[in-house]
């Protein structure tokens, strides 16, 4: 069982995260006071540490700085501020990823799994997931969703889903990078070869069309999730 230590001072939020991660088969411990975090993390050596940036006693950045030399696992930052400075400082300190509040459970899970996969603690779901190539040879199956790459055919519940070429390519790209948060910039480059200028909403429109055709609702989407201000996430295990 993979182990997580969550350092978060909001009691209700941390107990929710604990409950969810336990349901997903993780062993998760909570520390509410920043002053205690360093010692506990170093002695327990969990696979992943989730650190809130603003903590009573000692802030997340300080804790990260203190543990980094002697802690080999991944550090995920949980933050309410999108301030770029925080990000840069965090990455310089050796943070592995950032999650901006409000977090969605499925996104948190994907991020944690991604860290574990990087550390080779759990196997990759797709061998191709590291390549940016849109076209793959093998067919993809996620629950009731199947993508037949040779025929360029997508079926849901064994029924054919009519998709335009660009929608198909987008779906294939997302599916090949399942559990990864893909930025609009990345999606734009990979599907059209043009750089995303931050204003173009074509990606969002296409995602909305895909969701509609694949039976995923907009704001409470569970299959292709919008990760606020970061991009999109394809969830491989919700196609039932």
């Amino acid at each position: 069982m993979n182990t997580i230590i969550l350092v978060e001072d909001d009691e209700k939020l941390s107990s929710l995260i604990q409950k969810y991660m336990q349901q997903q088969g993780f062993q998760i411990d909570i520390i509410a006071d920043g002053r205690l975090a360093t010692k506990v993390i170093l002695s327990n050596q969990p696979d992943v540490v989730i650190l809130d940036l603003m903590l009573p006693g000692k802030d997340g950045l300080t804790i990260c700085r203190e543990i980094r030399a002697q802690y080999k696992g991944s550090v995920l930052f949980l933050t309410a501020s999108e301030d770029d400075i925080d990000h840069v400082t965090g990455i310089e300190l050796g943070a592995d990823d950032f999650i901006i509040k409000p977090i969605q459970p499925r996104v948190l899970l994907a991020r944690v799994r991604m860290q574990l996969r990087k550390a080779a603690l759990i196997p990759n779901i797709n061998v191709q997931s590291s390549s940016n190539e849109v076209h793959t040879v093998s067919d993809l199956h996620f629950g009731k969703l199947s993508i037949f790459t040779k025929k360029r055919l997508v079926t849901l519940n064994t029924e054919k889903v009519p998709l335009t070429t660009s929608e198909y390519e987008l779906l294939l790209l997302l599916a090949n990078h399942a559990e990864e948060v893909l930025s609009r910039d990345f999606i734009f480059k990979a599907t059209r070869g043009i750089e995303y200028d931050g204003m173009d909403r074509t990606v969002d429109t296409k995602i909305a069309n895909l969701r509609k055709k694949l039976g995923d609702s907009g704001s409470l989407s569970s299959k292709i999730i919008t990760v606020r201000s970061q991009g999109y996430l394809f969830v491989p295990d919700n196609w039932h």
């Binding site: 001072d9 909001d10 009691e11 009573p56 006693g57 969605q104």
Partner: protein
């Protein structure tokens, strides 16, 4: 730059010209009278000598002396017969002298015992000297212009520096300041500019901090709602689902309380400080607050009634009650078992003291604690509740009343909050 120079120069030129013109005009009459006397006195001796020469020499020798009068003399001399002069002989004064042109030294003298008239003048000047003088005079205005140009150039450079800084500030670089060195200074302007820039920077920074804090405070309950909603969505168990729904409801209540408090804070921030306050009974207000805000029955609230004679002081009942209420709520949260309230009056100030016997507040945090979203542990622990705006609102209300709020150590062990404002309405 050119415009500044031209306008400066033209104004100066006009001023000088106007002055000399007006001055000349106004003194001309009596000046010329004095000059006539002056010139008469200048040459009266010379005429005396000529007349004596005429008396002592015979006609021929005198004519010869006159003819041989040095031609290069600056004061030429010429003799006339009284019948040949081109002005009225009555013009000769008591000294027999007539000043025809007092500016160019042209004078006539009538001999006392003959028909002869001697003329001196008009005065000449050595030619090159005149030229030199005209060159000297014509250089006057260009020289003035040059001086003014240099001065304006220097002034302009100083202004340019200020202008650049102001433009930079306008573009949003709030950290820009101008040099306050002596040679860069334009009066007190550099100092004032820096003062203004510092104020603006502080204000904007404060605003930014507040916005960040608000975002942070709003996002925590939002994060919980989002999380619970997603879990609710995939949860099948009925009891569990209900629990998530209650959880979401709690968080929504928290959010709406926070928004209410924020609006109150914003209102006091925006509303102007009222200038004229009506007198009300402070006793009544405090009793009212104690009745409505005493939520913790484990805490004993002692209030010492005050002298009725001094009871009526100017304040806004609704707002001051809110401030006292916030102090009381705060005290009840942190105290062990007692909260003491008492009032102190002097001629100038009315003060309300709220004492508790809780842990107290360290010296270094006694100012910061009145900033919005400041808490002693510098995070958002929910144990004590509240949103970090209560004391900020107290401060705002105190300032509205022309007063202040401060913290001391209370005699019963904890913190003492003192809310003070003027006893007499500010007119």
């Amino acid at each position: 730059m050119t415009r500044l120079f031209i306008s400066f120069y033209v104004v100066l030129f006009c001023l000088i010209s106007t002055y000399s013109f007006v001055a000349d005009m106004s003194v001309k009459t009596w000046l010329s009278e004095m000059m006539v006397i002056d010139k008469t006195n200048d040459y009266v001796g010379a005429f005396y000598l000529i007349e004596n020469l005429h008396k002592s020499l015979d006609q021929q020798a005198f004519d010869k002396a006159i003819t041989n009068f040095p031609s290069q003399s600056n004061t030429p001399l010429k003799m006339f017969n009284i019948n040949n002069i081109d002005f009225d002989p009555k013009l000769f004064d008591s000294n027999s002298i007539y000043v025809a042109d007092e500016y160019n030294d042209l004078l006539y003298y009538r001999f006392k015992d003959s028909d002869l008239v001697a003329r001196i003048g008009p005065m000449n000047t050595y030619e090159p000297l005149t030229e030199y003088e005209s060159i000297y005079e014509s250089g006057y205005y260009p020289f003035l212009a040059f001086g003014i140009f240099l001065w304006v150039l220097l002034f302009h450079t100083k202004l340019k520096r200020l202008d650049k800084a102001a433009t930079e500030l306008g573009k949003g670089n709030l950290s820009v300041r101008v040099s306050q060195k002596g040679r860069h200074r334009v009066g007190n302007l550099n100092h004032s500019f820096n003062l203004m820039a510092t104020q603006i920077e502080k204000l904007v920074q404060g605003h930014k901090n507040l916005t960040n804090a608000v975002a942070h405070e709003l996002r925590t309950p939002m994060a919980r709602i989002r999380f619970q909603l997603d879990m609710l969505y995939s949860e099948q168990d009925h009891k569990q689902r209900k629990e998530y729904m209650f959880g979401i409801s709690d968080d929504l209540n928290e959010l709406s309380d926070l928004v209410d408090e924020l609006l109150t804070f914003a209102k006091f921030d925006r509303e102007p400080i009222s200038t004229e306050l009506q007198a009300h009974s402070l006793n009544e207000s405090i009793n009212k607050v104690i009745r409505s805000r005493h939520f913790n029955s484990d805490v004993k609230i002692n209030y010492q009634q005050q002298n009725n004679k001094l009871d009526f002081v100017p304040f806004e009942p609704k707002n001051l009650e809110r401030a006292i209420g916030n102090l009381l709520t705060n005290a009840q949260k942190y105290t062990q078992d007692t909260v003491n309230i008492h009032i102190k009056h002097d001629k100038k100030l009315t003060s309300i003291y709220v004492d508790d016997n809780g842990p107290g507040i360290p010296d270094e945090q006694r100012i910061d604690i009145f900033l919005p979203f400041k808490r002693l542990d510098n995070s958002r622990t929910r144990e004590t509740g509240g949103y970090g705006l209560g004391l900020a609102i107290v401060k705002q209300i105190a300032v509205r009343h022309g007063g202040n709020v401060s913290i001391e150590k209370s005699p019963i062990g904890g913190a003492r909050f003192i809310l003070t404002w003027p006893s007499k309405s500010i007119k």
